[in-house]
């Protein structure tokens, strides 16, 4: 069973560049066309289940806008870049 994860995308930093969307291996991300950030961008978000907390979205994010969490099952998650 794949790990269950979730992300938080900061409206302060996200510029809606879509790099996370194309990089997401689970294809669970898109721009949230119903919202605008204070800077006027549609922010990225997960639109369906399937996030594994792999953190690839955070790895490619140029604005360090994404915080990644993963449900603890047995193994300690491997931090990004390690």
């Amino acid at each position: 069973m794949p790990a269950k994860g979730w992300i938080e995308v900061s409206d302060t930093y996200c510029k809606g560049c879509e790099l996370c969307i194309s990089a997401c291996p689970q294809e669970v991300m898109e721009l949230d066309m119903t919202r605008l950030t204070p800077k006027g961008y549609h922010p990225a978000h997960t639109f369906k289940d399937g996030c594994t907390g792999c953190a690839i979205c955070a790895l490619v994010c140029p604005d360090a806008a994404i915080t990644v969490y993963r449900e603890i099952t047995k193994a300690v998650p491997t931090p990004v870049g390690a």
Binding site: T67, V68, G81
Partner: protein, 258 residues
């Protein structure tokens, strides 16, 4: 959903960053390079004794984003300023962050001689094949045939010369401890880039000489592409012209385990 707490955390914005959102265009890989540096400084516990040297170019305001001391150099002179700082504060970590116009054109003298002297500095070199800040003019690294605002018909090598491969060029100098080229166009390469940045700072921390990481980067706005297409351009056109690899890894650096 499980409660969000530190135990669940896989990734968060590095402490080496300030709270300031960057001024970079959406999708610009400057932000990725910045983030990797901040992560490495945090992991090595160096934020407290690092002094950065910002260039002139898009990253002129780099000093706003790192929670370290910073100075802002004249165009191309960052390696000279960094030399001045490092020579009087040898126990500090000093790095420059320079673009291709800054480092490979107007600052060619400064970078070559800082490397030749083996200044114990780290240089992060962003190669995105154009002058971003001034609106996308031809840079020393612009690819043959590539259109820019000052090579509107495409760079004609007959009259405008050939791209300069800095990592290869500097690797011939004996003062260089570590000199590599990486790319920021996909997750795998970003991981490799981070490891190289870590190795470069380790090189400096151990006094093993000049270290430089050249990073192939994007400029979606001036290239006239989406951020995603820009990454494809790097993979398809820039990597073949600027091959990724380790151009100089001195014996002492090769022993560093990360």
């Amino acid at each position: 959903m499980v409660a969000t707490n530190a135990n669940n955390l896989v990734y968060e914005r590095p402490e080496g960053f300030t709270d300031t959102p960057t001024h970079y265009c959406p999708g610009c890989t400057h932000g990725v390079a910045h983030r990797l540096i901040a992560e490495v400084l945090e992991e090595m516990d160096l934020i407290d004794r690092t002094i950065g040297v910002a260039p002139v170019g898009c990253s002129v305001f780099a000093y706003n984003y790192f929670d370290t001391d910073f100075v802002e150099a004249p165009h191309g002179r960052a390696p000279a300023m960094a030399t001045g700082i490092k020579r009087v504060l040898p126990d500090r970590i000093v790095f420059t962050y320079q673009g291709d116009g800054d480092l490979a054109s107007i600052g060619m003298g400064e970078i070559v001689h800082a490397a030749a002297r083996g200044e114990n500095l780290t240089v992060i070199f962003i190669n995105n094949a154009n002058y971003g800040m001034t609106g996308g003019q031809m840079a020393p690294t612009t690819l043959p045939g590539m259109k820019t605002t000052s090579s509107p018909n495409g760079r004609d090598v007959e009259t405008q010369g050939f791209p300069i491969r800095m990592a290869e060029m500097l690797s011939t100098l004996d003062g260089v401890g570590y000199c590599v080229r990486r790319s920021l166009h996909d997750p795998k390469n970003i991981r490799l880039a981070k490891k190289a940045i870590r190795t470069a700072f380790e090189t400096q921390a151990r006094g093993l000489g000049f270290s430089m990481v050249e990073l192939l980067s994007t400029c979606p706005t001036n290239w006239g592409m989406t951020p995603v297409d820009s990454l494809k351009f790097v993979e398809q056109h820039m990597v073949p012209a600027f091959p990724l690899g380790d151009y100089k890894v001195a014996a002492g650096v090769a022993q560093i385990k990360i």
